[in-house]
């Protein structure tokens, strides 16, 4: 068996396993953990379009999650609009806002861009926290919004966790597909080039700023969709949870640790770091609150110093090494017998 064949087999097993998981695991707690894991993987993958490829560091992406959540929920509560439609609306609004913010900020140098996105993210949080009513819409300020309970597919609400699991899984697959597709076509090449050597790219016909804004718009749209998902999953959200610096940073940290600019990096980051958060919260939260953030910080620093391309680099090498060893062994055994 060749390495490529083994690689393909493992990947197929993984995909099948992930898709059939709910059949043999029905603990809602663990399902919830997995759902949130995919949720973060989705968020980091979306973030990666700007943070990994456009080569800048957006630190205010939580604002778009919030925009998505608030938009779809408010539309649902006021007009009875199905959250599925609201989701698209929220994503669109997030994309529009992202573009408006992106056009001036993406011209700024890396450090300034980071600061600007932070300021924007915090600005949105402060604004929402202080606003009870925005015109006819109730935002409820810091208390957040409770999504009215009304279980049905059309209302994007389900009693069991299983539908949520599949929805986020599909969203994640779509996000990965979008990323993969972009990497193989012009927009991906132009973004990468513009991120690495903008002057050279411009001389080759790339309007770097324009492509960065496009990446931002796509990323914000996708992030907005996640906001609605969160709202429908938790049925309650409030500014401190869904907006604000901590959330933005968490997304960025995970993507960075996993490996920005790669396909698997953000997902791997989420895969490894989210369980850390969950377990430290379950077991340690009373004794050592905030432990997971310390761990994040430590890992982040170590990764940045020793593996700036993220842990996906050594993990990839390790995986390939194992593949080599195993197929080598199989071939040897085959030869011997």
């Amino acid at each position: 068996m060749t390495k490529e064949t083994l690689d393909k087999i493992l990947k197929i097993v993984l995909i099948v396993g992930v898709f059939t998981l709910p059949i043999w695991m029905n603990s809602p707690t663990y399902l919830q953990i997995l759902i949130l894991l995919f949720f973060y993987a989705y968020l980091t993958t979306s973030w990666n379009l700007v943070g990994g490829w456009a080569g800048v560091l957006p630190l205010g992406h939580s604002a778009y999650v919030g925009i998505g959540a608030y938009t779809s929920t408010v539309l649902f509560m006021h007009y009875g609009l199905s959250p599925w439609v609201g989701m698209i609306a929220g994503g669109a609004l997030a994309a529009i806002v992202g573009t408006i913010i992106g056009i001036p900020t993406l011209k700024l140098r890396g450090a300034y861009f980071a600061l600007a996105t932070m300021a924007f993210g915090e600005g949105v949080r402060v604004f929402v926290e202080n606003t009870d009513k925005l015109g006819p819409f109730v935002l409820n300020g810091p208390r957040g919004i409770c999504v009215p309970l009304n279980e049905s597919f059309w209302n994007f609400q389900f009693m069991s966790k299983i539908p949520y699991y599949y929805i986020i899984l599909i969203m994640l697959c779509l996000a990965l597909f979008v990323t993969w597709y972009m990497s193989r076509t012009r927009i991906g090449y132009y973004l990468n080039a513009g991120g690495e050597e903008p002057e050279a790219a411009e001389a080759l016909g790339v309007n770097v700023a324009k492509y960065k804004v496009i990446a931002m718009a796509i990323s914000c749209f996708m992030t907005g969709l996640a906001g609605t998902f969160y709202a429908q999953l938790m049925l309650y959200f409030y500014p401190k949870a869904i907006l604000g610096l901590d959330f933005s940073f968490e997304i960025a940290f995970i993507a960075l640790i996993g490996g920005r600019g790669t396909l698997a990096g953000p997902v791997l980051g989420a895969l490894i770091l989210r369980p850390v958060t969950d377990f430290s919260r379950i077991y340690f939260s009373s004794i050592l609150p905030g432990l997971h953030l310390v761990i994040y910080g430590l890992v982040l620093i170590l990764v940045m110093i020793y593996q700036p391309r993220g842990i996906q680099a050594p993990l990839n090498r390790f995986y390939n090494w194992i593949l080599d060893k195993v197929t080598g062994n199989i071939e040897n055994k085959g030869v011997q017998s």
């Binding site: 012009r186 050279a200 411009e202 080759l204 016909g205 770097v208």
Partner: protein, 243 residues
């Protein structure tokens, strides 16, 4: 009608006149050289054409169309390509990837673009290195990659900014051949160069820039024996009196 016309272009940086009322005309199929002492304003003039700067005064025309002050990517879309004196490869990407970035201006189909890029790499004898990361290339190869990338955009005119700096003599000869080959393929070339023997051998016509002004223009022979040029490069003491 000349392919590229630079009409009375000046570029001022505050009080400094980097380029001062320069007029140039480049015909299709020519190799036009630009020389001058360091800091004379050659690169600045280039950048005024290529879109990195907008001229303070004057106009630039390409194929009769005005391109003054156009952004670099639009200039590239007008089929003018340029290389940089300090090469800027996409270091973390392969040679093929680098070249494909250039080729994407001609097509959006990845397979087509790949073929175009491979074709260019073949012509520049870089095809065997196509899967190497740009950062692992020698300086000579990086310069060739810079050329390949620019050529991948299929330009009608190529601006070469000191592409031979830092090369060994045999490498210089290689590049000379490549550049001639490019011109033979129908591309007009506007080149800045310091290595005298290269630019004298290569160019059909040469202009000399000194303190931002064009002081002489003519064939290589005319320019190399012109008093003013010798004075500019070497100072008054070297002008031979009475030939």
């Amino acid at each position: 009608m000349a392919l590229l016309e630079i009409k009375n272009v000046s570029k001022h940086f505050g009080g400094l006149k980097a380029v001062d009322q320069v007029d140039l005309s480049i015909e299709k199929g020519q190799i036009f050289g630009l020389i001058g002492p360091n800091g004379a304003g050659k690169s600045t003039l280039f950048n005024c054409v290529a879109g990195l700067y907008a001229p303070t005064y004057g106009q630039v025309f390409f194929k009769g169309n005005e391109i003054t002050g156009m952004k670099p990517w639009d200039v590239c879309n007008m089929r003018i390509a340029r290389t940089f004196q300090l090469v800027k490869p996409f270091k973390m990407k392969t040679v093929l990837y680098n070249t494909m970035v250039g080729a994407y201006i001609r097509s959006t189909n990845p397979a087509e673009v790949r073929d175009m890029a491979l074709d260019v790499l073949e012509r520049l004898h870089l095809a065997d290195k196509k899967d190497l990361l740009a950062k692992s290339l020698t300086i000579a190869d990086r310069k060739r990659l810079e050329l390949a990338r620019a050529m991948a955009t299929n330009p009608e005119m190529l601006l070469l900014d000191e592409c031979m700096a830092g090369l060994r003599p045999n490498e210089v000869d290689e590049i000379l051949d490549i550049v001639r080959g490019i011109r033979d393929g129908g591309v007009t070339i506007f080149v800045i160069e310091h290595i005298m023997r290269a630019i004298m051998a290569l160019s059909d016509r040469i202009a000399v820039i000194h303190f931002g002004e064009k002081i002489v223009e003519g064939t290589p022979k005319e320019v190399s024996t012109d008093e003013r040029v010798i004075k500019a490069y070497l100072g008054d003491g070297y002008v031979a009196t009475g030939n």
